[in-house]
Symmetry: C2
Subunit: 181 residues, 2 copies
């Protein structure tokens, strides 16, 4: 039903089914993984009204499994790219794989897919840094950050006549900021 692909590696199309509604892919050497693609094979859709929540699971320093919600796949959006390279030091989130005690190997992480009601998925919030779609707004983000700074800094601009005499305070000519901007 599901496939999983680590960018640069061979595709995996045979997850381990750890419960009726739970599927797990192993990710060996996960420290060297940046992006993971999770997708439906197209052979079998989700039952009506259901979808899959996608989790990343990795062992913390003491070997305990830390689970983080990456996002979702549904019949309407049957594939997604996730960035996991920024997650390795993040905190765990609530997850439905609790009782499974997957064996933890220091270098092996997992992708877990839990089939759930769409209403249940709608109440879950994935970790923001996993969304590759945010990457698309890279230029917009940079531009917004610059706009934000320029507006912020400009609001403090003063002329010499407006300055309170203070020999130690340093000033930057506003046209230097404008030029850089």
């Amino acid at each position: 039903m599901f496939g999983c692909l680590v960018a640069g590696r061979l595709v995996q199309a045979a997850p381990q089914q750890v419960a009726e509604d739970k599927f797990v892919f192993d990710l060996p050497d996960y420290e060297n993984i940046n992006h993971v693609v999770v997708f439906m094979l197209g052979t079998l859709p989700f039952p009506e009204g259901m979808g899959g929540s996608v989790y990343f699971c990795y062992p913390d320093q003491s070997g305990m499994a830390v689970w983080q919600l990456l996002g979702f796949v549904t019949n309407e959006k049957p594939s997604a790219i996730f960035k996991i390279s920024g997650l390795k030091s993040g905190k765990g989130s609530q997850h439905p794989f609790g009782a499974m005690n997957l064996p933890q190997t220091p270098t092996v992480a997992q992708i877990g897919i839990s089939v759930e009601l769409l209403e249940s998925l709608a109440q879950q919030t994935p970790v923001a840094s996993a969304a590759v779609s945010s990457v698309d707004s890279f230029t917009e983000f940079t531009q917004k950050m610059l706009d934000n700074f320029y507006n912020f800094a400009s609001s403090f601009a003063v002329t010499q006549a407006q300055m309170t005499p203070n020999p130690s305070e340093a000033f930057i000519p506003a046209n230097v900021v404008l030029k850089w901007y």
Copy 2:
């Protein structure tokens, strides 16, 4: 031999074989595509010493096919994620699909894979903006940009005593910039 996946859509595993060594996937509604994953299915490796160059082909305003080299897949690196959303206004590059005259529909682009000698691939330069690995340096890039600005602006910092009298020039207190930084 190859699969192709548009992020958010169903996987495609049956390319059109347009020549013995050339394969093409259609990408409908390509204006709404950000990322494309190209991967080997794992059923059949490349012949020894060979790999695949991956091209994005889209129709320009006059309906002519524009081809851009995205990158490569090989037996050693059998999958890759490419960002195509920035390429739609780019220039075409040399490509091996020249004589094929693929039918161009205004909203349909293509992914083309050409099986070639690895030595030939090594001499080809993909368009830089297609590499999703560059995405990983997002944080570093932003930080560098900030460092760059802070160093640049700070180098212009003056105290009131150092200012040339000029009532119209606006100044920004340096601690405003430091605070934002």
